[in-house]
Symmetry: C2
Subunit: 150 residues, 2 copies
DNA sequence: GAGGAATTAATTGCATGCAATTTAATCGCC
DNA sequence: GGCGATTAAATTGCATGCAATTAATTCCTC
């Protein structure tokens, strides 16, 4: 590749991923509006539906987000009545996140979102799965470079 | 896939892309710091190094960004002396973006960033290229769903 | 050629993200 | 037990992103 083409936008892996992430987020917007959640709030709820009673630290590790992003976001979800935040009795530095009944029930309303999105996107499940696996591999690769601070 | 696993974070293509984009951006941070650019500013300069004398509209289409994001960003790059913003004489609605000498020269300092990043990421050029192509395909697919508003 | 429709930037308001710092609590080591 | 190091959240400051609205200009149609 010559010196010019290395800097071409279309040759940048980074740009493709960056733009793709934003476009996908926009795709979710109308569906999530029905739930009253933003995209980041939705992803946070996904993590908590899998496992709650976790600390902010653990949740952040799962979502690749730090407390600077999570603290205000969790306070908002708490204000919406979807979860509670309470200090760990064993270690008062930690805050435990627990879903409320309402937060748990929201899962039922969210259950058909992936299906609806796939249809909308015109992706076969196999295509999507193969693609997801590749990005996940990349994600892990990239994350390990970051200095393993997590 | 059962009702539980469809909502698992690890099965979400969206989440993989979303997290990957942010991790990649972090990877760029130390390199871009040397140039004095943020990631979005860097991507904008990439587009302009390929072609300047473009309107905000055209640039936004290229970058998948709207004027709400671009206007303040371009004003900042203008304040840094990298480009100029001027109304199109033929159509006063449009604003033409043009690189300054300093903006053009910055390209020389940026030229080795892709190379350095690849090394850091431990990706072979072939791997990266195959991967980039897939994401680009996905990006186009997703973008066409959005209602072709661009 | 006048007036409503369409187009382009800019603005406003809100929700992230993240680096850096601060605060509070716990750990480790003597 | 006591104190410096470490850890977990919270806070602060800055830079995006985007939806919705506004302002200015041009287009289009009668």
């Amino acid at each position: 590749m010559n010196t010019d083409s290395v800097l071409k936008l279309d040759n940048q892996l980074c740009f493709a991923v960056y733009a793709c992430a934003r476009e996908i987020t926009k795709l979710y917007h109308p569906l999530l509006k029905e739930l009253g959640l933003t995209y980041t709030q939705y992803v946070t709820m996904l993590a908590l539906w899998e496992q709650d009673q976790v600390t902010v630290k653990q949740l952040g590790h799962r979502l690749y987000l730090d407390s600077g992003t999570l603290t205000p976001l969790l306070k908002k979800l708490e204000a919406m009545g979807l979860l509670t935040r309470s200090r760990d009795k064993q270690d008062e530095r930690s805050v435990i996140i627990q879903l409320t009944e309402q937060g748990i029930r929201l899962k039922d309303k969210a259950i058909d979102i992936p299906e609806r999105l796939f249809c909308q996107a015109g992706l076969s499940p196999e295509e999507a799965e193969a693609f997801r696996k590749q990005i996940t591999d990349m994600l892990e690769k990239v994350q390990h470079i970051q200095g393993d601070n997590n």
